[in-house]
């Protein structure tokens, strides 16, 4: 197999798009070809790191801050989640 074809197969392998039979064949080939093996392992790891990235935290505060920004921009939005405390009118405590 030439390098160009290897590259295409490794691209598909890294993205889990290579059919099982071809994957087995490619893995088998990688035991005989260290450059191919390195290409496969490093590219697969790169994709794995991206796919398992947890992303930015989206907390209730984030949700409410964005909601506040929408209100500020003049949007009328009603959510099923309770309104943030600072938007609720507080009654004086009796006692």
């Amino acid at each position: 197999m030439n390098n160009n074809l290897y590259n295409k197969l490794v691209d598909l392998y890294a993205g889990d798009e290579l059919p099982e039979e071809l994957t087995e064949e490619l893995v088998g080939e990688s035991f005989k070809n260290t450059d191919l093996r390195h290409d496969m392992v490093s590219l697969k790891e790169t994709v794995n790191i991206l796919r398992t990235d947890p992303g930015a935290e989206f907390t209730d505060e984030t949700f409410n801050r964005i909601l506040m920004r929408m209100y500020t921009k003049g949007l009328e939005v009603k959510t099923r989640t309770p309104e943030p405390d600072h938007l609720q009118l507080k009654l004086p405590l009796s006692g």
């Binding site: 691209d11 490093s42 790891e45 991206l50 796919r51 984030t62 964005i66 929408m70 009328e76």
Partner: protein, 181 residues
Amino acid sequence: MSGEPQYDTFAEKRWLAALAKGDPEALGAIYEIYGERIFRYAFRMLGNRSDAEDVTAETFLRVMRRMNELRADGAFRTWLFRITRNLCIDKMRQHKLMELPADTPYNSSVDRTTLRITVHQALKELPDEYREPLILCDLEDISAKDAAEVLKISVPALKSRLYRGRRALRDKLGGSLERAL
């Protein structure tokens, strides 16, 4: 990357129909469904929490204003991501003028944190034509077909950029990735 494009669910369609009539509860429901994904996508594009929050709010404002542009058979999700993308591009242009610093990304623990920070730094340094497919397909798990629609390119073009982008990122990571293997 998911193999199949994702279509609007029945519930979403019901909310979208209500939204077209200006129902504020519908906008709230759509925000509850998509707010987090849109925020995460904006954050990945911008690397700045405050800007990502602003873009998310602005996205829903545009949704409300431009509901008439959404075709009945159109995928709402794709349209939503396209609006967010355009807003992010506007913000990035502003940043280029003002050179605002990006937030330190994420708060995950253990050894991979350093590598993740390196990955995010390397991702930022990639050309947009590689960075955007990586964000949509690998980080946001959007199908190739939907990502191609968001970027207004063909699926083969999207895949070509995605594969080249992965290799470019891998090459940028170099030694950091070697140590992690």
